[in-house]
Amino acid sequence: MPTPVITATALTKKYKDFAAVDGIDFEVAPGESFGLLGPNGAGKSTTMRMVGAVSTRTSGDLTILGLDPNEHGPAIRSQLGVVPQADNLDTELRVRDNLLVYGRYFGLPRSQVASRADALLEFAQLADRAKAKVDDLSGGMKRRLTIARALINDPRILLLDEPTTGLDPQARHILWDRLFRLKEQGTTLVLTTHYMDEAEQLCDRLVVVDKGRIMAEGSPAALIREHSSREVLEVRFGSERNETAAAELAGIGERLEVLPDRILVYAASGEEALVEVVRRGLDPITSLVRRSSLEDVFLRLTGRSLVE
């Protein structure tokens, strides 16, 4: 691995007695797209704020672009682009002015900021909204403007905290497309998400975090290979029959996971598992065979689903 742009060792953040981040280790290589996947409250945002050099760690080591954020906060931040979980655009300014004002904070000359602002509005597909009020933008547009703003200083690392939470499917896909382009250009992306599909789409490598700790690490495919079967059969028997049916399914596939509303059968071949279910005389209301996802990995590792 080339010299990492981010190195965290036993990184810890405590609020009084509560450890929001409880001794995590990870590295991010230049140009890599790295994800932190976990449920709400797992410590993802706290980690992002420490990497963003705005939150001071309680203990452990953290190096960003070769510098310690405790010593060189402003210098590190000058090379980062930050897309926070909640948009904090200036609603008192128009769309383009948000970019102009922000660019100035990096000490960039006005003319340079202006030309970059126009290029970024094109990139964010907001060129025709340059003079609009921020409040008149849709959720997806605001998100794209926040990303455009984060790119105004030509950052070496782009931090995205739950970039598509709260967006409709179409807006998510537009955003993913923009982020994918950045990735293609070699921008280092670090993102948190609780969406498996997002992690699978965007991350080269990710860590699964829960309760401030890292549960597993690897590429999406490797994590699935390691912690789940190739396919999953989902069968529903109705909430009353669920428990009893589960007992009768024993021995089918590699492993069973009983959820309140359905049973997951982990198997190399979902179809074959389904044939066996039917052969045993069980009659599921619905059945579905799908490939394993990161959701299954998370369920396996923590015993809970990601979005509760």
Partner: protein
């Protein structure tokens, strides 16, 4: 179109952030001025309308009822007496607006400070930038006030222009309020309470519209604590003074500066802590 180029900067981060570290506060001021453009008309109308109304009401209206001596200095008209205090009050009003709603707006309601702090800008620079901006707003407000005072014949040109400085000091002396605002997590009407229980009594008992010495001695201490009294008396020295020993004028300046500096530093500390939790 292809996306923006990224990650091409060859300069070291420390070099790249040098300008922000030096001029950061001014960038914050620039941002605030840009925000202000949206309601510049309202601000200017207020800045001009307030002195016209107040000076007319007090200096022309109320003054007709006041025939006796208003202070220790004979020959001073009521308009001359009241004008420097009104100017200082106007500065305090501007400062209070920024130190209360302005601060909480940036930290909470329109959380621009969080965005600023994600750049090389530090909490201290944010506060410095706001203080510079408040200073500029007060200079404009007091400047307009002074011109209207001249028009009303409340002051003669010359040294009296320094009454603007007294106004500035009065406003800055309320900066501890900004430090307090920076600690508010939930808005539960604290600003309204502050306005009614602290600011209003300070205004009424600060020798603004009548000399402090008119009050019974057991109430006069309110005035001695009030930045507004110190600033009003200081302003009066510039307009028609000296009416007090020089050491007292120096006390006014030192007291106001001290409050201003302590509040400023305290505010910078609170904002930094809050942003870097």
């Amino acid at each position: 179109m292809s996306g923006p180029s990224t990650g091409s900067t060859a300069v070291s981060p420390i070099e790249f952030s040098a300008k922000s570290r030096r001029y950061g506060a001014w960038y914050v001021t620039e941002h605030k001025i840009r925000q202000m453009r949206g309601y510049l008309g309202t601000l200017l109308a207020t800045a001009l309308g307030t002195p016209v109304l107040y000076l007319f009401a007090f200096g022309v209206g109320l003054a007709t009822l006041i025939t006796g001596n208003v202070g220790p200095t004979p020959g001073v008209t009521y308009l001359e007496f009241v004008a420097p205090a009104l100017l200082a009050s106007a500065a305090v009003l501007v400062a209070m607006e920024e130190y209360t709603f302005g601060i909480l707006l940036g930290l909470k309601w329109n959380a621009t400070y969080i965005g600023m702090n994600a750049t090389p800008i530090t909490g201290r620079q944010i506060v410095d930038g706001i203080m510079i901006f408040v200073g500029l707003r007060m200079i404009v407000t007091c400047g307009i006030y002074y011109v209207v005072m001249l028009a009303f014949g409340a002051v003669d040109s010359g040294w009296s222009v320094l009454t603007i400085v007294a106004g500035l000091l009065a406003g800055f002396a309320f900066s501890p309020v900004a430090a307090y605002s920076a600690r508010i997590e939930e808005d539960r009407g604290q600003f309204a309470i502050l306005q009614r229980t602290v600011i209003l009594p300070l205004t009424l008992f600060s020798g603004t519209v009548f000399p402090l010495t008119q009050l019974p001695i057991f109430l006069q201490w309110i005035g001695w604590l009030s930045p507004l009294w110190h600033a009003s008396e200081l302003g009066r020295q510039f307009v028609y003074g000296p009416t007090e020993p020089i050491w007292l004028s120096i006390i006014h300046v030192v007291y106001l500066l001290l409050l201003g500096i302590v509040g400023w530093q305290w505010c910078a500390r609170n904002v930094t802590r809050r942003l870097n939790k």
